[in-house]
Amino acid sequence: MDFLNAIVALANYVLIPGIAYGSQLALGALGVTLVYGILRFSNFAHGDTMALGAMATVLMTWLFQSWGLSLGPLPTALLALPFGILFAIGLLLFTDRTVYKFYRVKKAKPVILVIVSLGITFIYNGVTRFIIGADDQNFFDGERFIISAREFKTATGLDEGLSFKTTQGITIITAIIVVALLFWFLNRTRAGKSMRAYSDNEDLALLSGINPERVVMITWMIVATLATIAGVLYGLDKSFKPFTYFQLLLPIFASAIVGGLGNPIGAIAGGFVIAFSEVTITYAWKKILVYLMPESLEPNGLVQLLSTDYKFAVSFVILLIVLLFKPTGLFKGQSV
């Protein structure tokens, strides 16, 4: 029995990656849930919005790198991030003006907007591939680790190493800051409250003098910011590849629905529920169990419940279970 090593292994392979991935999903799900709450449809183009925002950031990062700009130990991408966000805001506002607004004026039903967002998905996906190609792009620089496994081993004398990647640290810290800012905005500012009012009761918001076009504009700006940050963090942590962002759509939708669509707190909780289910169910537990079990009982196999290729299946099964027991999601929906 060796609890200390087991805990370190658990932190290294399950907790830290789970928290980082959960933060990325939560940021993505927040964007989906805001659009659902305010514009009242599920935006299939959200994954590709993340890709486009991240792409703009990648391009700016390369430009800065070519100028020799850097943030020292931190990735240059953080410097480029505001430009990526600005690009995404411009893009979404342009899309809203040229595409979505027409259907709002026509009072089209939300499901029509879902179909429209499928068209936008195609276009965003095409534009991303057109500009940056379909391949993996590396844009990470700076210090790789906050704590590397080797340093940890020599410092503590344990067998098991603990590594904490810079990207994971940045992901977690950024996510906390962004979420805190978002909640402050929604609950404390006039504009944020008007968004919640509009989501709660559109007619009454109108009668109170809240301008729907302004609410929609602010929503797209926030969604662009969230999507770009989520996309860049995911790209830094894993890698930037346009197609993976499209695939993130399922876990992101699952997170938003598990938490209760339209509820920002739910989106965050959902992100972590989905991330931890994926990581724990597809992790090979042998590494941890060897420290906890007597040698005679040591497992032969990898003790992996499902192969990592089934991670999407895991998000989906969790979603199904939650919906069966609590049809409205963990938190009641609708209170953007």
Binding site: F102, I112, G126, V127, R129, F130, A134, I257, L320
Partner: protein, 434 residues
């Protein structure tokens, strides 16, 4: 201009477009577009049944198509020597056990009072069932996959005539759709979209990973054909003579003839399905569906069981997609799980339905042909366009190289534009619902 004339004109334009491919590129490409256009039309027909007539939003078309493909393998491919003896029983009993666990859970959910005891029992049964399932499945799978992994390493199929796989593919898709619909088509509101999106990904994950079933990413090649092989035709003096008399060399003649055979088969299926869909729509059943769609509250008040109707139409539409999937795998002669992408197999079919005209079967067929034509031809068109644009640029300039290289990505952009333009300027589609 009356309606028949307008529709004939629209189909005529699509036919001309495809023929121009025949004249400018090759008749082989043109016939391939026709064959895939037929399959696309069938998929669109299935989705139109769900969306156009019942307002059901299915974003898991890819999964149903892939299940059809699986049927082609399981029916058409000959069984692997010794595989069933090695692990077939284990796999079958594991699957039965899995199904039993699920049924047991459903019974517990039904019979016990809600509460923590029930929840704990459900979890215990699920966990125990899962581990037993894996304990039974894993060793059998290992034994199956050991058999000549480079060539087979999977159970193989039944070795029956592959045409049988088409209805079976429909049945597979229907069964999956029934399970999804039963859980997701619900009480006052449903969550079909996310359910179909998820199930489609799971089906693809299973096809990619369960090597004993589909060889996974190693692909199953050489699925038997319902039509002659080119090489046999080329060795058949009678055929060579006939081809020569029509002015074709044996190789070209044989490939064209094979395509024509497929087209004849597919067209027959499309005609049958189209006839059935039209009949269904003008039957009391179809009228009831539209009544529900246009005013559900009133229909419910008249005692119509909305959920049951929705379930029926969802299962039927998905089955049609399954049939199309089996046909496609049959024509490709191979199952490549890695090639199933949602953009191509789910969203593209949606573009076909919307562009053709939601709620109009003829529109779906037109959409199927037109959008498939664009999907295939936008790439060469884009390349041509890029060559024109970059003609003035210096050779070897980075921008020129990038633009020409990027022409391949034009097709997604074009599909999005086509969908948005139709939704904006002709929201009922090219052939609107009557």
């Amino acid at each position: 201009m009356n309606e028949t004339m307008k529709n004939t004109l629209l189909f005529g334009i699509v036919a001309l477009l495809i023929m121009s491919v025949g004249f400018q590129q090759s008749w082989n490409s043109a016939l391939l577009i026709v064959a895939m256009g037929l399959i696309s039309s069938i998929m669109a027909l299935g989705v139109n049944l769900q969306w156009g007539f019942a307002g059901l939003f299915n974003v898991g078309i890819m999964g149903f198509v892939a299940l059809g493909g699986l049927a082609a393998v399981l029916i058409g491919v000959p069984p692997t020597e010794g595989a069933f003896q090695a692990g077939g029983l284990g796999v079958v009993s594991a699957l039965l056990l899995g199904a039993g666990t699920v049924l047991l859970v459903i019974q517990i959910m039904k019979r016990m009072q809600p509460g923590w005891q029930r929840n704990i029992l459900v979890i215990v049964v699920l966990v125990a069932g899962f581990f037993l399932f894996r304990a039974l499945l894993d060793p059998s799978v290992e034994r199956i996959e050991e058999i000549n992994p480079a060539q087979t390493g999977f159970l193989g199929g039944l070795g029956l005539p592959v045409l049988l796989a088409w209805p079976v593919g429909g049945l597979f898709a229907a069964a999956a759709a029934w399970v999804i619909g039963k859980t997701a088509l619900g009480l006052r509101s449903d969550y079909l979209a996310i359910a179909t999106l998820g199930i489609a990904e799971i089906i693809i994950a299973v096809l990619k990973n369960e090597d004993w079933l589909t060889r996974g990413v190693k692909n199953v090649i050489g699925v038997p054909r319902p039509v002659p092989y080119e090489i046999d035709l080329q060795n058949n003096p009678a055929f060579v003579e006939r081809a020569a008399s029509l002015g074709f060399d044996p190789v070209e003649g044989s490939t064209l003839w094979v395509k024509i055979c497929y087209i004849a088969l597919f067209a027959a299926v499309l005609l049958v399905l189209m006839w059935m869909a039209q009949r269904a729509l003008h039957s009391p059943w179809g009228r009831m569906l539209r009544a529900i769609r246009d005013n559900e509250v009133a229909a419910e008040a008249m005692g119509k069981d909305v959920t049951a109707r929705h379930l029926q139409v969802f299962v039927l539409g998905s089955a049609i997609c399954g049939i199309a999937g089996a046909m496609m795998t049959t024509m490709d002669s191979q199952l490549t799980p890695g090639s199933y992408q949602p953009l191509r197999f789910t969203f593209l079919v949606w573009v076909m339905v919307i562009v053709g005209g939601s709620g109009n079967n003829l529109g779906s067929v037109l959409g199927g042909f037109l959008i498939w034509f664009l999907w295939v031809q936008v790439e060469p068109m884009g390349l041509w366009l890029m060559n024109v644009i970059t003609a003035g640029m210096a050779d070897g300039s980075a921008l020129k190289a990038h633009l020409i290289e990027s022409a391949a990505h034009m097709r997604l952009l074009t599909m999005g534009m086509v969908l948005l333009l139709v939704l904006r300027f002709s929201p009922r589609g090219l052939i609107p619902e009557k």
